[in-house]
Symmetry: C2
Subunit: 209 residues, 2 copies
Amino acid sequence: MTLDLSVYLVTDPELCGERGVLATVEAAVRGGVSAVQLRDKQATGRQLLAVAVDLARALDGTGVPLLVNDRLDIALAAGADGVHLGQSDLDVESARRLGGPDFLIGLTVSRAEEIALASALPVGTVDYLGIGPVFPTTTKRDALGALGLDAVAALSSSTELPCVGIGGITAQNAASVWATGLDGLAVASAVCAAVDPSAAAAAIKGARS
Amino acid sequence: MTLDLSVYLVTDPELCGERGVLATVEAAVRGGVSAVQLRDKQATGRQLLAVAVDLARALDGTGVPLLVNDRLDIALAAGADGVHLGQSDLDVESARRLGGPDFLIGLTVSRAEEIALASALPVGTVDYLGIGPVFPTTTKRDALGALGLDAVAALSSSTELPCVGIGGITAQNAASVWATGLDGLAVASAVCAAVDPSAAAAAIKGARS
């Protein structure tokens, strides 16, 4: 399966609200989301596993991969397609060893040194990089200062790995982010908190020229 | 390797203080600790992995198994011997599937129904149960009300699985806990916060008549 990162949804249970994560993801996929990352830093392992199992079932057959943020064990237990790791999570080499060759592994990077380290790993260790925050964001409380479009363009062009921009991306600014040459745009609030997640996803996708 | 749960140390980085978790564990093992559980709910995955790797190296060849609380992925990445799971963590059947037949899996139980469910699982799913809290405890902030010695004795005698008591156990009350017939006593503050962790571990062990 070719990895399509173009519209990459990061779920947030608070932003999804009463609609819930599952219904939000299903609507977003109808609108063109091509990859889904389950992210919930507050959930217990048991709760996260339950949501991951539901999402894996919903995405089965759609071609849209499911990744779990941080928790490789939960991803493996749920039969998810991969894990997304931050710089303070389990290292990607350990994750590759445990997940096997076909498991998807994404890594968040924010600095040139982090991209250089990731790019120097054996081919097949990391499948893609998440670069951000592109713009200021309130979704991820521990996020660093915004990089801005020029820095994101420079960072993504410094690696052969596919790159997804993340942080503050909306339907309004999506065209400017696409213009940096990224392989995909990651969105949380722009889709999770939208009245119509499907239309919001379609708008992000359609902003690519 | 026969699993010796008799003096089961649960690490707490705050209680270990400046001495650190590694030095505390090394001293405690000299005093007779027979199993070590790395527990740190505040650490990032990366931090937890680093400590787990250090402990695994220190315990290698001692015959004392290392278990990691909650995080099966970190346990596997560090080459630890097992994982200890609570009722809100990854389920033990998923953990057994991912960890393989020789991986140690412990489960915290506090009620007769939880013990009945664990005991009804296929043989080899769970290696031991942690029953508690025996006494009131301040180490584990989300712990339930204390069970008391009579309830612990009744619970542990209701299952064929090895049982470790946990919660508020000290050198002073250890003899009374041993008298319930448990296979082991789990201690955190009684050893981690002791001036002499080795002597504290020896006192817990020596209280068994």
